[in-house]
């Protein structure tokens, strides 16, 4: 945590997505997050690295866990953290995204952490502000800190990412978590498979460098990591599958399907889980195989690393958007 030197290993003003990050940059971020992980387990969880810095969480979409995770990250680094959600702000009064951002920008924050229901909205906003922006999830596009914490979880359990067979299962078409993970895992040399009914597989996804399976037992064969996505009913306009019970029967993770993966395969889920929908309750609670709680813990560490890198970058680099 070299507080003052400009960061040549990570020369970006914003963190808008994983696409475009190099393997070295990702590794650098994960290494830094590792040190914060150890720190977070220590007795004194307060630093002054961000003393005097203003961090604003600007969430146009509900999220308690991600926002709390960022808030904790900012406060542990000693920053002043403000939470703004759509309900309590002038957005409801009809102000546009850009106007809101520019209004907040006029208060000179150091970092804006933004979540928005539309893909691309965070990038649009980042072009209008002078501070750094972290994308906490934009529509179905990217959720970079989630992919980073997933990678950290895997790396700590398996020693690395290279060559691992990772199955991402569920509502791929609407998932920003899936997209960010696909970019990251491919960049780090893992082999990604997608498992879902055909209606939940986006068109042309094979060209992102993944294998697609419509049969879960087949897709899980020999996998090291099983990443379950939540079925996002709030994003579904129209018919993607007929019923929860049919979805769970063919695509829910239970022991029978899990049997085709490696015996020590790790089970992950970005949360919140729908028990009995994408994952069987027993499997979710199988603490020997599930890394779901660790993922949450990694989340704070990863977000602290991102805040450190972006706040330290600001005066030095004019490299523009990531």
């Amino acid at each position: 945590m070299d507080g003052n030197a400009p960061n040549r290993a990570f020369a970006h003003r914003h963190l808008l997505g994983i696409e475009g990050l190099s393997a070295d940059e990702i590794t650098y971020l994960l290494d830094l997050a590792d040190t914060y992980f150890e720190f977070n387990r220590g007795p004194d969880k307060k630093l002054d690295m961000l003393r005097g810095c203003t961090v604003m969480n600007l969430f146009f979409e509900d999220s308690t866990r991600t926002r709390t995770s960022f808030e904790l990250a900012g406060k542990r680094l000693g920053g002043d953290v403000i939470n703004m959600s759509v309900r309590s702000s002038s957005i409801k009064k009809g102000e546009t995204v850009i106007d809101t951002a520019m209004t907040l920008n006029a208060m000179n924050p150091d970092v804006l952490i933004v979540r928005h229901p539309d893909s691309g909205a965070v990038e649009l906003l980042s072009q209008k502000v002078t501070c750094s922006v972290i994308n906490a999830g934009d529509g179905s596009h990217e959720h970079p800190t989630q992919a980073l914490l997933d990678a950290l979880t895997i790396r700590r359990r398996r020693g690395g990412l290279q060559g691992l067979k990772v199955a991402i299962c569920g509502d791929i078409v609407h998932s920003r978590v899936a997209r960010s993970n696909i970019h990251l895992l491919n960049t780090m040399g893992a082999r990604v498979r997608l498992i879902a009914p055909r209606t939940l597989i986006p068109e042309g996804v094979e060209r992102l460098g993944v294998e697609v399976f419509y049969d879960m037992k087949e897709g899980l064969e020999d996998c090291d990591i099983v990443m379950m996505l939540r079925l996002q009913s709030e994003r579904m306009h129209g018919n993607f599958f007929p019923s929860i019970r049919e979805y769970f029967h063919f695509f829910g993770l239970d022991y029978e399907k899990l049997a085709s993966a490696k015996p020590d395969a790790l089970i992950m889920h970005p949360g919140p889980m729908n028990r009995g929908v994408e994952i069987d309750s027993e499997v979710a609670d199988d603490f020997g195989r599930s890394a779901i709680r660790e993922q949450v813990e990694m989340g704070v560490a990863v977000r602290m690393a991102c805040l450190e890198l972006l706040t330290l970058n600001r005066p030095e680099t004019e490299q523009g958007n990531l």
Binding site: P197, T199, N239, E246
Partner: protein, 438 residues
């Protein structure tokens, strides 16, 4: 004469037969041996030295012994509309028509969009011991065209393919998702190709006859538009589709082009569309009110050509029984549809009788052709397969008299038609389920 399951079947030799098996191209005099429920042996030389002791002998009198017919589009009306027809009455009509396997549409009451209905029909058919009955599952819940039905689980329960029955899945996005979702499990969707807003309130084919009769017309484009649209959707989704009862030249051409491009597209037609045209409506004959409607002569000829050149994969009866009350109404109010189980074979044989097709080619459209569309192991003669057989005399002449048919409902568009081709014996799983003397 329905079979008695308790009787031991033993071995039965069908001798002095003309064996025709379109799947293998066999057409030769010979014999066939069944053992219990399966075909044990068959061929030109079988039993040429006589039949050994202990084998029951059936003398086929030189008539045609073929695989039992496979009818992939039938409305049996049970559960829910038993006044029009039942699994029992439909089964009896089917066996009289030489049909040993039928596939019934899901527009029953309740709709076949739940596994329980699939099991009900399977169990009832098994108990009746007549024709084998499979069913289609619904594409959309309640056949409402909006929410997808549980196609994966319905398939596991035994549904062989999926259709919304006598309606098209009209919304393009719903059809696209249906094709895509069904493709997850490699399931087939069968579409009744009719653009519903164009066909709304129509009573017969749009054209001169409809104009003279003062009846609202259903444009040919209603069929063509859906066929062309859904072919595009198949291309988009990689799904599989089968178009039911094609009746227009352009629809058939579109299917031919799609096949040439390697798309997973098949189609069938029903006897009214190659044996009748819209003039059969005559003076408001409601037995000629069908869906799709009977077309003009040029389309009828195109259907004939489509059957001859192989574009059309199967002939299915599209058996749609209606009670008298539903048909004895002003034309516009009458129900659509005609019965067809007992006329499927003789009307199709007209191609053979007037020299347009060989016997094998006609029978292919009624046996392995439809079976292959649905991936059923039926409609062929093969050692070890169930002994589902039909014995018929292709030359015997008779006249279709609707009231004499075994079907519970009598709404036949072929009423009064002289035909040739009489089923003499129908065998399902080695048991005779229908027989006719003389």
């Amino acid at each position: 004469m329905a079979g008695k399951p308790s009787e031991s079947l033993g071995r039965v030799a069908y001798v002095n037969a003309r064996l025709v098996d379109p799947a293998s191209g066999l057409d030769a005099p010979g014999a066939l041996l069944t053992e219990g429920e399966v075909i044990a042996d068959f061929g030109a030389g079988l039993f040429s030295e006589g039949v050994p002791e202990g084998i029951k002998v059936v003398d086929c009198g030189g008539h045609c012994l073929i695989p039992g017919l496979v009818d992939i589009r039938v409305q049996l009306r049970e559960p829910g509309e038993e006044h029009k027809g039942t699994l029992a009455s439909g089964g009896r009509a089917a066996t009289a028509g030489g049909i040993t396997t039928m596939v019934c549409l899901p527009n029953t009451v309740p709709v076949i969009d739940d596994m329980s209905v699939v099991e009900f029909i399977a169990r009832r058919a098994r108990l009746l011991g007549l024709t084998k009955v499979y069913c289609y599952g619904a594409v959309t819940k309640g056949l409402e065209g909006r929410a997808l039905a549980e196609m994966g689980m319905l398939a596991e329960a035994g549904a062989v393919a999926f259709t919304d029955g006598v309606k098209a899945v009209g919304d393009a996005q719903v059809m696209r998702r249906a094709l895509s979702y069904a493709g997850t499990y490699r399931l087939l969707i069968v579409q009744h190709p009719e653009e519903s807003s164009l066909a709304e309130d129509g009573a017969m084919n749009a054209g001169e006859t409809a104009t003279r009769l003062g009846l609202q017309g259903i444009p040919r484009a209603a069929e063509i538009i859906i066929v062309e649209r859904d072919i595009r959707l198949v291309e988009m989704t990689g799904g599989r589709i089968h178009f039911a009862h094609v009746s227009t030249a352009e629809a058939i051409e579109a299917v031919a082009r799609a096949k040439a491009r390697g798309l997973n597209v098949t189609c069938d037609t029903a006897p009214p569309y190659f044996a009748l045209n819209e003039t059969a409506v005559g003076d408001y004959r409601t037995f000629a009110k069908l869906s799709p409607p009977l077309r003009a002569e040029a389309d009828r000829q195109a259907v004939v050509d489509g059957l001859k050149n192989g574009t059309i994969d199967a002939i299915a009866s599209d058996h749609a029984p209606h009670d008298e009350d539903a048909k004895r109404l002003p034309f516009a109010q009458a129900a659509c549809g005609g019965i067809g189980l007992e006329t499927l074979l003789p009307v199709s044989l007209e191609f053979y009788q007037n020299g347009q097709m060989s016997l094998t080619d006609v029978l292919r459209l009624l046996t392995c052709g439809p079976a292959d569309v649905l991936g059923l192991s039926a409609g062929r003669l093969e050692k070890g397969l169930p002994a589902d057989l039909t014995l018929f005399d292709p030359d015997r002449a008779w006249k279709v008299v609707a009231d004499d048919l075994l079907s519970k409902s009598k709404n036949s568009p072929f009423d009064g038609r002289p035909v040739q081709g009489r089923v003499l014996r129908t065998v399902v799983d080695g048991r005779a389920v229908y027989g006719r003397e003389g």
